[in-house]
């Protein structure tokens, strides 16, 4: 079994790095938290990490550059300017990129998503202010698209995860949205507790995203961005109903409660994919 190296970006206000790193390790990856500046100038600060040494690159959640001037905007500008080429190579090598929340926002501003026709440098879709106009923390029901090429959600049909954002409304021109659906690039949609579409309505769709879009991937399925936080469901006690679930299990005489959280499956898929293809 070969070693899968994952890199979680840190610095400049990013903040979900510890739990994302932890989730990747649970999923079997050799994961490191690496500061953006260490990638930009290897060796200048001691360590000299190289993007080429990694298989999975994660743009995690947070408030990069305080989210001023649009969430993920300044981060995208910084990375495009300093790491454009290495990231391009990373993609050509068939490796995986995951963007969560602020990371998703950075990916669409970099143009890595949706990446129509392998054009990884144009901003075609956007994540803009929630219709409510405010930051919201709530757990949502997600419906995954089984036909999507996304390697991260292979074999997954639905999942509950928390969203925590002020700018999560997915927006794009009508023809681009159509194209996303036509190519099954819409990976995750907000739904109600029974898996029916949220129809843009609060609370099931927390931000007013067009077509309830919560996450998309590029045509290769190897670049995936989503607003909800899989790394925040790394343990069964993360789920809002865990005390209720545990209580009903015990009533049915089931003493063994699963340790891992559902969210880890997303990272397991990524690790599996690398193991099989490298």
């Amino acid at each position: 079994m070969r070693r899968v190296n994952a890199l979680v970006l840190t610095g400049y206000g990013l903040n979900c790095d510890y739990e994302t790193d932890f989730s990747l390790k649970l999923a079997g990856a050799e994961s490191h938290r690496i500061h953006i500046n260490e990638l930009i100038a290897p060796g200048r600060y001691g360590a000299s990490p190289k993007l080429d040494d990694y298989h999975i690159l994660v743009f995690g959640g947070g408030f990069s550059w305080a989210d001023d001037h649009g969430a993920g905007v300044l981060m995208a500008s910084k990375l495009k300017h300093h790491l454009g080429a290495p990231i391009e190579r990373f993609i050509e090598d068939g490796k995986l990129i995951l963007g969560i929340c602020n990371g998703f926002q950075a990916l669409v501003n970099l143009g890595l998503l949706p990446g129509f026709d392998k054009k990884y440098d144009e901003r075609r879709v956007a994540l803009t202010h929630n219709d409510s106009g405010n930051f919201i923390d709530t757990w949502v029901h997600l419906k995954f698209n089984p036909k999507s090429p996304c390697v991260f959600t292979k074999g997954l049909y639905d999942m509950e995860l928390p969203v925590r954002h002020g700018e999560g409304k997915f927006y794009g021109a009508a023809e681009d949205i159509e194209r996303l659906f036509a190519n099954n690039l819409v990976v995750a949609q907000y739904a109600d507790e029974n898996g029916h579409e949220a129809k843009g309505q609060w609370p099931h769709n927390p931000n007013g995203s067009l077509e309830d879009i919560a996450g998309i991937c590029d045509p290769s399925g190897r670049i995936f961005g989503l607003m909800p936080h899989p790394e925040a469901f790394n343990h069964f006690t993360n789920h809002p109903d865990w005390t209720r679930k545990k209580d009903s299990l015990l009533r049915r005489g089931i003493e063994t409660i699963p340790e891992d959280g559902e969210g880890i499956k997303v990272f397991r898929n990524a690790v599996e994919f690398i193991r099989n293809s490298f």
């Binding site: 305080a66 929630n130 757990w139 006690t237 209720r244």
Partner: protein
Amino acid sequence: MASRLEIRLKKEITDAEGAGLRRKAREYLGLEVKDIRVIRVLTIDADLHTDQLEQIRTNIFTNPVTEESSYTPLPEDFDRLIWIGFRPGVRDTAGSTAAEAIQDFLGITFTADQAVYTSKLYEIRGNLTERQVHKIASELLANELIQQWKIYSRDEWRPQQGIGILVPRVLLDHEPRVSTISIESDQELRRISLERNLALQDRDIPIIRQYFLREDVKADRKRAGLDLPTDVELEYISQARSDHCNHNTFRGLFRYHDLATGHREIVDNLFKSCIEAPTLKIKEEKDWVISVLWDNAGVGRFDDNYYYVITGETHNSPSNMEAYGGAITGIVGIYRDPLGTGKGAKLILGMYGYCVGPRDYRGELMPHLHPRRLLDGVIEGVRDGGNKSGIPTPFGLLLFDEGFMGKCLVFVTALGIMPAEIRGEQSHEKTTSPGDLIIMSGGRVGKDGIHGVTAASETYGEHTPAGHVQIGDPYTQKKMHDFLLEVRDEGLISFITDNGGGGLSSSIGESARFSNGCRVELDKVPLKYQGLDQWEIWVSESQERMTIALKPEHANRFMELSAKHSVESTIIGEYNDTGYLQLQYNNKTCAYVRMDLLRSDFPQWEFDAEWTPPEIRGLTEPVIDGPGNHNLLLKAILSRPNICGRNWVARQYDHEVQGGSVIKPLVGKKRDIPSDAAVVRPILGSKSGIAVTQALNPFYSQIDTYQMTAATIDEAVRKALAVGGDPDHLGGVDNFCWPTIEYHPTKNPDGKYKAAQLVRANWALRDYCLAYGIPLLSGKDSMYVDGNLKGPYGERRKVSGLPTLLFTVCSAIKDVSMCVTMDAKSPGDLVYILGDTNNELGGSEFYQMMGSVGINVPKVDAKGFWPHYLALARNIQEGLVSSCHAVSRGGLAVHLALVAMAGELGMQIHLPLVPGASELSVTQTLYSESCGRFIITVTPEKKERFEKGFSGMKIGKVGIVTESPRFSIMDRGDVAVIEEDVQALKEAWKRPFGELI
């Protein structure tokens, strides 16, 4: 030449900010606005070529999918236009991140005076008068303390020039100067102190003079090139002696006199006798107490490998002036305390507590900010401060009372975690040694927070900084936080502390006590703008700064990592053992003060404290005959602002970040009922967790602050135990907020009574911390909770807040999977009430609703309660409890309803089975606020084992959880007292604030 970039959302895209503003204009001001759209403005005060400007416009600042932008004015077809920008010197984070991005993208470096400033334009469409638009600008958008604004009507608008180019650059045409101060006589020094806002305390002045007149001191000063004391020195001494830094009130001498019994007693130093002594005693008994009473925060053991760190404070006055700025500065500020505790702790959790005037206040008094606007601002400040720091905010309190219109209370509490050992050294230990370098990391220094309060009344010029009101910058601090944890783990830190009140003067002044001396070069301190006097650099309270002591051999690596995290760090001096604090500016000494001066015995503050017991004050029980309609009454109480759902606050706060959320602020089937406490798992992969909760009960202070304090401690303890907290590990944090206690015949005629209230509160703090074994890991006092509010006739009325204690309890939990929530889980479960209900409605919600106070305030029988608490904890650990909830404000009726509402299930309760009910009327049983009580639900299979755990204790099986969602409470002979649909109760509970987002 400066340029102005204007950016707006494309027409077809919803402008959520504009829509929100429209909503507020309608709800708050009753103004119908057709449409509001926002234009972001970047004023780039730097010489860039046209092509450079175009590059940054398209590549950085304009999202082609959603936005359009131009260097020429965008506003069009509006009826009125509001421009709002910051005053000079107000923190403009977006401006500095824009400058950072521009320089990075273009590969250029701005000169010192080049910068980017952000402002906003609001296109208002609709039929509004100038005055109405002015109302929107001044009452919804801008606060004149930090912002300036202009309103344009359509006809006066010049599309070519637009708003023009407005550059709020700070220009201080001032040459830094040290001035000396005459110490001719005490009177002279007192006069100068007043004149210069030195705020020297009268009783300190003779001591200070004697010091500077000492021959040996004079000789030493001569050698250092000094004669008369300098303004730098007196500012330093004044800071160090301030109530804020020194807690003179709590260390004061109180002449306590009970006017009823005639009993007199001298109470010397509340801090030593009621906080320090009990805490040290408990520390001896509990080995999990690691470090208390000296550092920025207290330290307790989390598990074998980690320590947790906790502290709390208030940020009242600044929030009262500028709600958003004050609150964000408060939360970001408290986060520096754990970071500055021991060798530095990682922040893992924040909590909030707000006490404000009624949100719908329509009275005749005119506070600087209407309570509703103040609350909005405070909530948003803590939201941005917490969320942008990447720290979960899973618990908080909100309380409304007109008394807090004089000054609001904004409590902020923070927890951190650190490895027990760092490179073989205990993480909670730190010291400075001769030869260590003094480093300042983080933000730069401006006129911020200097003589804060007095500055508020100064008038502004176009370029004078509005420094006294700050806006915390979580982005700068988050970078510094990540940086400092990395240098900590490399073992580079000898000592670390934060720069808060008093700035460098207190962080360096206090850390230099360990080495017994220091030399600081004030000219090395990086400034936001030139022109600060030496004393201003020394006492400025500019935020996001830490002071670190470092061995010289670690300097290079430290600076390397500082650069990696793009954090500014500067060597500004060194610690030594000269016994002197020496400040220099361009190699000239401007302060030379013996380290032992501040340890010399300054006179203790003294207070007369006169206690009048409630019965002598004429308090009695009200005469209220049993209500005929208990359904209506319960729904009415559930809809009261201090009982009803305030969920919109919690939802704005990220309580999941860091991935360790175990028990969330809102629980239950629909996740909409407040939890007793929050539980987090700070070390992922470990089963251990921390439970934290808070309580405040200021209304009981109307009767007796002793009982208020006891009830508040007891409530916090019960809430922590309700989720599975460990009774052997209860850490406390006390945050007192009190009206002024110095007696003054005209300005504060009831000062002696308020002083007695403070003494009694501290006695209860001592008694109940000892009784429950709670060490006070940290705490702060904030006095002067008064305000003089303008009335309709131009008069000013003094409004004092109720004496308030916010008490925080934290508990380390070995296995979080044994935690329980308060929601009823399953039909058929048995409902128990643990603890007696007594005739204790004094200060209760029910009496308040009936317009009275009463006198039977709840009392805490710690000895009687404690065995119950131990038994409950055992039962929870054995998995015998399905749900557990501490009964608090509102009494049994309210809290039984909450348990049912949380489970979305019905309940059948038989009142006569409630322990203590036989002595009480129905209303008393339903609404008494007796302490020591829990509501517990248990599955029938576990009945025997559960009851065995409580044998011989005051517990009653009062009913069952039902499938049918009916909430019914029955009296003797199964007479229904309350018979209501659970959803109806929930609607009543949600109605008041249900619409808020």
